[in-house]
Amino acid sequence: MTVESALRAAREGGRKLLVPYVTGGLSDDWCEVLRALGAAGADAVEIGIPFSDPVMDGPTIQEASARALARGATPVSIFQDLDGVDAGVPLVAMTYYNLVHHAGEARFAGALAGAGISGAIIPDLPLEESAGWERAAADAGVEATLLVAPVTPDERLPQICERSRGFIYAVSRMGITGERSDVSSSAGVLAKRVKAVTDRPVLVGFGISTPDQAVEASREADGVIVASALMRILLDGGGPEDAAAFVARLRAALDAP
């Protein structure tokens, strides 16, 4: 099942979408976390492929990336770890372009597909630079998701939505990933603008840390991506069951009438 069809089906079922993020290779049991999140109510799971220089990430994801790299995680080891893993929901990779570029776009896309990963998000690859990657991903059957930001101009928004596959990643605020005490007002404004130009699922990410924030951020959007708050639990020693409990709380809040 593709990311987009899974998300559309869930949306049509009347629910808000929930996509948690896990840094690949963070611990020996990181694939157990994927399964647990799938079972706890995630609609898809994002897998961070750690990069040495994650410029879009705040302290939490930086720490998670550094820890995974120190444990010897590589794109190849992460793909190998995923062999035989069924999380029950589509998997979406998130990484930085140099890892794609270094491997070669076609080879990287093929490796994602081979590892059972259905989609990919490359936050440092804007529209002007992404055409080759989009083609390579499509050829391999991988959905290349593009991002929109609060400052994306009106004339640019439809172009991004037209080319994005899987869903539209709406960056909630100007800034980097990380837990915040409130949801930026720019999140709702942006989600509304995006929804006005596309029928694809629209997910809001960056700074969504609590069940209340998830509810607020998904008021205009179709759902949320939650990364740093979940990674904080895992970095502080939590296991698959702790991660699942957190995601279940988010799920319950989103499902509450």
Binding site: N98, P126, A149, V151, R156, V171, I176
Partner: protein, 385 residues
């Protein structure tokens, strides 16, 4: 050295690899610089600042003692005599003026050795801009006097504790700040790197070095030198001086640190907004550079240098830290000029190659990009005095 293509590429290098959130700012900057650079009023104001504030033109000096020692005719472009002690001020004054034109009130910068940070803090003081400088924790330790200088000038210095805690990580942290503050803040990148238009804009703001030197060489030696030599980390002083000699017969030589020789030891990669040669491991993780010189301690290189290398217009050899230390002392003793460790790389290559690959009697123009006062304590410690 012409303008890059529409996508910001010099050949296959360059581009604009930044998050969507930074695209409007890059477009705004490209537009602002393109207009300003062809606006006589802006150019007049910029030239006035260079003259009255930065002490330009910088002299071209015949280094007679060093020439005698090496057997080649050495000319020094004295960028270290600029206000703030290096070529960095040329770029910073242009970008600070542009910041004012764009109506932004805050300026941020990364710095390695502290030269670009000091220059940015200086311009911020002059223009009344808020200034934050990101500097790796390793560099704040080895260049603590420059940290104080920046603070004295009213800037805040943020020690960066992530990654290798050097220049690369300072750039990462500056980008993280910029993506959060882009609507009010200009990121004053210190070298010919970053997303388009930076590599082109910074080279244009530094080309005053080469344009002046071209005229000065004509006056002094009646033509162009056989070699034009400059150190290369990101490569802004090299790009600036090369720009004046690109259309001549002069051989262009960018001297890299052995532990940061992106051209020769790296592969094409994408980081900090552009595609260029980059030190990286087998998976594409960025490797840490190792250099005695904080200003060259960077795993990449500006995209136009990768292009000049790929088309064979310039060469990019490297020198060891030991050779650099020797050159640092050589210029001090022969000419009474203490060079920055960065600039000592250029001296070191000429000293090594004179009368071997550089034929005796050749004329060699070296860009003396910065003064070495900031490095004296570090060199004293290394030499064990």
């Amino acid at each position: 050295m012409g303008a890059p293509d529409e996508s910001g590429r010099f050949g296959e290098f360059g581009g604009r690899f930044v998050p969507e959130a930074l695209i409007p700012a890059c477009l705004e900057l490209e537009d602002a610089f393109t207009h300003a650079w062809s606006d006589p009023a802006f150019r007049g104001e910029y030239e006035r600042l260079l003259r009255e504030y930065a002490n330009r033109p910088s002299p071209l000096m015949e280094a007679k003692n060093l020439s005698e020692r090496l057997g080649v005719r050495v000319l020094l472009k004295r960028e270290e005599l600029n206000h703030t002690g290096s070529h960095k001020v040329n770029n910073v004054l242009g970008q600070a003026l542009l910041t004012q034109h764009m109506g932004k009130k805050r300026i941020i910068a990364e710095t390695g050795a502290g030269q670009h940070g000091v220059a940015t803090a200086t311009a911020a003081a002059y223009f009344g801009l808020d200034c934050v400088v990101f500097m790796g924790e390793v560099d704040t330790a080895r260049q603590e006097l420059n940290v104080f200088r920046m603070e004295l000038l009213g800037a805040s210095v943020v020690p960066v504790k992530s990654g290798s805690r050097t220049l690369k990580d300072a750039v990462n942290e500056a980008l993280r700040d910029w993506v959060s503050t882009v609507e009010t803040t200009h990121y004053c990148i210190g070298s010919v790197m970053g997303p388009h238009p930076y590599p082109w804009m910074v080279r244009e703001l530094q080309r005053v070095i080469g344009d002046e030197a071209r005229v000065q060489c004509q006056d002094l030696i009646g033509g162009v030198p056989d070699y034009v030599v400059a150190c290369v980390g990101g490569g802004s002083n090299a790009a600036g001086i090369f720009a004046g000699f690109d259309d001549t017969t002069a051989l262009l030589v960018g001297v890299q640190p052995e532990g940061g020789a992106a051209i020769g030891r790296g592969q094409p990669g994408v980081v900090h907004g552009h595609r260029s040669m980059l030190l990286q491991d087998e998976h594409g993780q960025i490797e840490e550079a190792q250099s005695i010189s904080a200003g060259l301690d960077y795993p990449g290189v500006g995209p136009e240098h990768s292009h000049l290398f790929s088309i064979g217009r310039a060469t990019y050899p490297w020198v060891s830290d030991a050779e650099v230390l020797d050159a640092f002392q050589l210029l001090s003793r022969t000419e009474g000029i203490i060079p920055a460790l960065e600039s000592a790389h250029a001296i070191a290559w000429v000293a090594r190659e004179a009368r071997t690959t550089i034929p005796e009697g050749s004329t060699v123009l070296i860009n003396l990009s910065g003064r070495g006062d900031k490095d004296v304590a570090q060199v004293r410690d290394i030499l064990g005095r």
